[in-house]
Subunit: 209 residues, 2 copies
């Protein structure tokens, strides 16, 4: 492990002087390991879309809410457009056996191509959510939009969704409600390209002073 | 791995009927593996505070922005109060050697106790950021607040901060700007109690159709 003696100290002018790609890679790593998910949506004509996201976060359990960040509206953003149009989307955790296909959805396809086909993944329809799940995912959440919040600082959007449906193998949910993400092969990412498999280190207790 | 045949399908009425703790645990797992961080702050008198968070997310690289969620303002929330008062905070990635101390900061201490002492961690001061870093952390980011956004759906707050300082071992940053979080022992969490160590599975290429 690195020694604290070699700690680099980078400031605003250092960041501004970095090549754009270098800065992007560095900034991505600062938030640590993130969830790797596929967001499923469809437009009002039923054309499906699938996109990889690493900005999913927990907002609250009652009501059950999850958040995600969508990039600025400067290029075609089918996921955000579809969520605005239908009010529905799905979050599908990526596991070790579907990384290659999941990552492929980050390519820029034309509007006539469904990323499901390109990724070799199967849309799974729901009677509750007007958006496709990824059949191959083990942990799937169907949501309806509660808020779409503008982030003024850079023109991104934060989407807050309420959980309406959960699809998950029954045997992976323990008696306390925890899903064994480890046994399901769920992965995490440090940046836009590297996928990692976590192994349980320790289970802490409820902390008291 | 579980078979899709046993996929449980849970809906709103199932969630509403669950014991509160069970629902909380389940909902926490749906967002997958999350970053485990310590947020360092201080009040206007310089009293330090440290709290564990798992809701850090990437917002953008230019300007360099990170987001986090703070729980509703129904109990004493020193982190949010301090950020409002000083405009500064630090994000310190938790690694395998400081899990026990980091987790201990989630206990409810009285206002006179610094979580640094309780956790056995060392405040590290900065000439740029009016908030303490965790000396023992390997990846430290100092931020100033850009926006504090209310989430109407449940009364939480989303804090958007701009990165002003980065402290990280120079040898852990590669020529492309990536930080090798793996070599630094950075951990991830699936819920409020379980800490995992990720191992690199695969590094994908930039995807093209």
């Amino acid at each position: 492990m690195a020694s604290a003696k070699n700690e680099a100290s980078l400031h605003q002018h250092d960041l501004q002087g970095m090549p754009s790609r270098y800065r992007t890679n560095l900034i991505h790593c600062l938030s640590g390991f993130k969830s790797a998910c596929l967001i499923g949506t469809q437009n009002t004509k039923g054309r499906t879309n699938l996109a990889v996201f690493s900005s999913i976060f927990h907002v609250g359990a009652n009501p059950p809410l999850l958040g995600m960040v969508s990039r600025p509206h400067t290029v075609r953003r089918d996921t955000l457009e579809n969520i605005r149009a239908t009010g529905h989307y799905t979050i599908n955790l990526i596991h070790r056996d579907i990384i290659a296909g999941a990552h492929q959805t980050s390519a820029k396809y034309d509007a006539d191509t469904s990323e499901f086909e390109a990724a070799g993944l199967t849309p799974q329809h729901s009677s509750v959510i007007q958006a496709p799940y990824v059949a191959e995912s083990w942990v799937k959440t169907g949501l309806t939009v509660r808020e779409i919040i503008p982030v003024k600082s850079n023109g991104t959007w934060i989407i807050i969704g309420e959980i309406r449906e959960i699809l998950c193998p029954q045997e992976a949910i323990d008696e306390a409600g925890y899903i064994d993400l480890n046994s399901l092969g769920s992965v995490t990412v440090s940046d836009l390209y590297r996928y990692y498999l976590p192994h349980l280190l320790t289970q802490c207790e409820y902390a008291t002073p």
